[in-house]
């Protein structure tokens, strides 16, 4: 879907050439979310901005659905790619509905169709259209504004979204909420997303794949679980943190480690978890109850088996993550 081939950006400075992005290649499949992760100045944002050609690559190519983006008119290219930035950039002179309608208007949609589309997207993002469509950006909270920013990027239903630290400016509570909503929405929409972040927790939560950058180079491209289990080098290991095993726990569901009990019953004295819980909850219950095994019970009360610390250790040691 999106393929980068030896993408490079060098800037001429008085002290000589500086390579901001150095021969980065990777491929993101349709419907996947790839998080570009790294400390500031690592080249992740420049890489993102070369995809919609806000930054012209020095060399290398970007293919979008097999088409070399270097051969397309940049203005036309950008209209087909959703773009969300940290500062949101809602136009203060336009209402929410007009902001969402910007790209549709550039593409010549009529007013009624633009309005319908805006209402549809507001509903999708959980903002009642009758309440929000005619507000101005200065009448929105930060979280609401960023939801409108996402709606605006989705206006013409582009297959690809580029998101540049979209949730970084929000407070932690709001950020969690909007991340969860976004994940729920993405499960329905299956967009191909490139998402820049400097936050390992956000990356682990949002990504199907993580591309981790260090001084302009792509140092590892892997699934979150793989990256946490096998950091490619010392930089990645220190960036993901010494608690990387704990971070992995959120990625694994109870159903993946449950050991089926032969008789369909479990020890009634054990605390229970649902098969869709992640292993953080299991770890919390282990510590809370001083035990190393739990019953796994589904929503209808049917006992699926037991979860043991041994089974979890086996899962964490396994190499074939996903």
């Amino acid at each position: 879907m999106i393929r980068l081939e030896a993408l490079t950006k060098t800037y001429a400075t008085p002290k000589g050439n500086v390579t901001a992005v150095d021969a980065v290649s990777f491929e993101v499949h349709e419907g996947e979310t790839c998080v570009l992760l790294g400390p500031s100045g690592c080249g992740k944002t420049t890489t993102l901005r070369m995809i919609n050609r806000l930054v012209a690559p020095t060399s290398g190519r970007v293919f979008l659905s097999g088409r070399d983006t270097g051969t397309v008119d940049p203005v036309e290219l950008r209209r087909g790619i959703g773009y969300v930035i940290q500062q949101i950039g809602l136009f203060p002179n336009m209402t929410v509905a007009e902001n969402i309608g910007v790209v549709p208007r550039l593409l010549g949609w009529d007013a009624a169709r633009r309005r319908r589309r805006a209402q549809e997207l507001l509903s999708l993002l959980g903002l009642p259209p009758e309440d929000f469509a005619d507000r101005y950006p200065n009448e929105l909270s930060g979280g609401q504004a960023q939801r409108i920013g996402v709606a605006r990027a989705l206006a013409v239903d582009p297959p690809v979204l580029l998101m540049d630290e979209p949730f970084a400016a929000l407070d932690p509570v709001n950020r969690e909420a909007i991340q969860d909503e976004f994940l729920r929405m993405q499960r329905k929409l299956r967009k191909t997303i490139l998402f820049v972040s400097h936050d390992i927790d956000e990356a682990v939560k949002m990504a199907d794949r993580i591309a981790i950058f260090h001084s302009g180079r792509l140092v590892q491209f892997a699934t979150p679980d793989d990256m946490l289990a096998h950091p490619a080098n010392a930089f990645v290991a220190s960036f993901v943190g010494s608690d990387r095993t704990l971070k992995r726990l959120r990625l694994i569901r109870v159903r993946e480690v449950v050991v089926a009990s032969a008789d369909g019953r479990a020890d009634a004295t054990l605390p229970s978890v649902s098969p869709d819980d992640d292993l953080r909850q299991v770890a919390a219950l282990f510590l809370e109850h001083g035990t190393d095994s739990l019953a796994c019970v589904d929503a209808s009360g049917h006992v699926l088996g037991t979860v043991t610390s041994e089974a979890i250790a086996r899962r964490l040691a396994r190499d074939d993550s996903r």
Partner: protein, 219 residues
């Protein structure tokens, strides 16, 4: 009391002078808007050009208006308009340039870079960005520049009475030469009221043209 009866007896003449005055100011400001706004937008592309244009504008502002009229006499007499309406309009137009160009330039440059970034990223062309985003956002500040220009021009045009351009300045120039306090007061009063009225109506226009989402909100 004498002044009052002078005013009452000369209302038609005052009206005529006001119309003359306004015709000079409105033509001058109109031309200044048509040239100054595009110029102010154009110079946002280059810092150095902007600096020299604004510097030039400031120099023009330092020339006393009576001197500027003097400079224009030999130049415009070549086309037979050394004095009168044309030099008055040209001088007023030159004084109107700086506030209009400077405000346009500042307003466009101060548009939040994030908005520019978002607009480009969404696929707006440079012209679409200007028309749909930058000018609407800059408009209140541009109009503030026009307000300043109008008030300056009402004053400059008063001096233009000395080169036979007519207008409310005529009462003042005659009042001085004839030592007639009634005419002096009439002219000064009318000019003051005109400036206040013009400023108020432009302030109203400025509020009307401020995009609703950018208006300062009460509470």
């Amino acid at each position: 009391m004498e002044t009052l009866s002078f005013i009452l007896h000369n209302l038609p003449a005052i009206g005529e002078r006001t119309v003359e005055h306004l015709s000079i100011v409105s033509v001058a400001v109109g031309v200044a808007i048509l040239t100054g706004v595009p110029l102010g937008i154009a110079i946002t592309q280059s810092r150095r050009t902007a600096d020299s244009v604004l510097y030039l504008g400031s120099i023009v502002m330092t020339i006393p208006s009576i001197a500027l009229f003097g400079i224009l006499i030999p130049i415009l007499s070549k086309i037979g308009h050394g004095i009168g309406w044309l030099p008055a309009v040209i001088a007023a137009m030159l004084y109107a340039q700086l506030p209009i160009v400077r405000n346009t330039y500042t307003a466009i440059r101060n548009v939040d870079p994030a908005l520019r970034s978002a607009a480009i990223g969404m696929g707006m062309s440079a012209l679409q960005r200007l028309v749909q985003v930058e000018i609407p956002i800059a408009l209140p500040v541009i109009i503030a520049g026009v307000r300043v220009a109008v008030v300056i021009n009402i004053g400059v045009t008063a001096i233009a009475a000395y080169i036979g351009a007519g207008g409310l300045g005529t009462f003042i120039s005659r009042g001085i030469s004839q030592s007639d306090i009634r005419q002096l007061i009439t002219g000064a009063l009318a000019l003051g009221l005109l400036a206040i009225a013009a400023d108020y109506s432009l302030a109203w226009l400025q509020r009307r043209l401020t995009p609703r989402g950018m208006a300062p909100r009460a509470g």
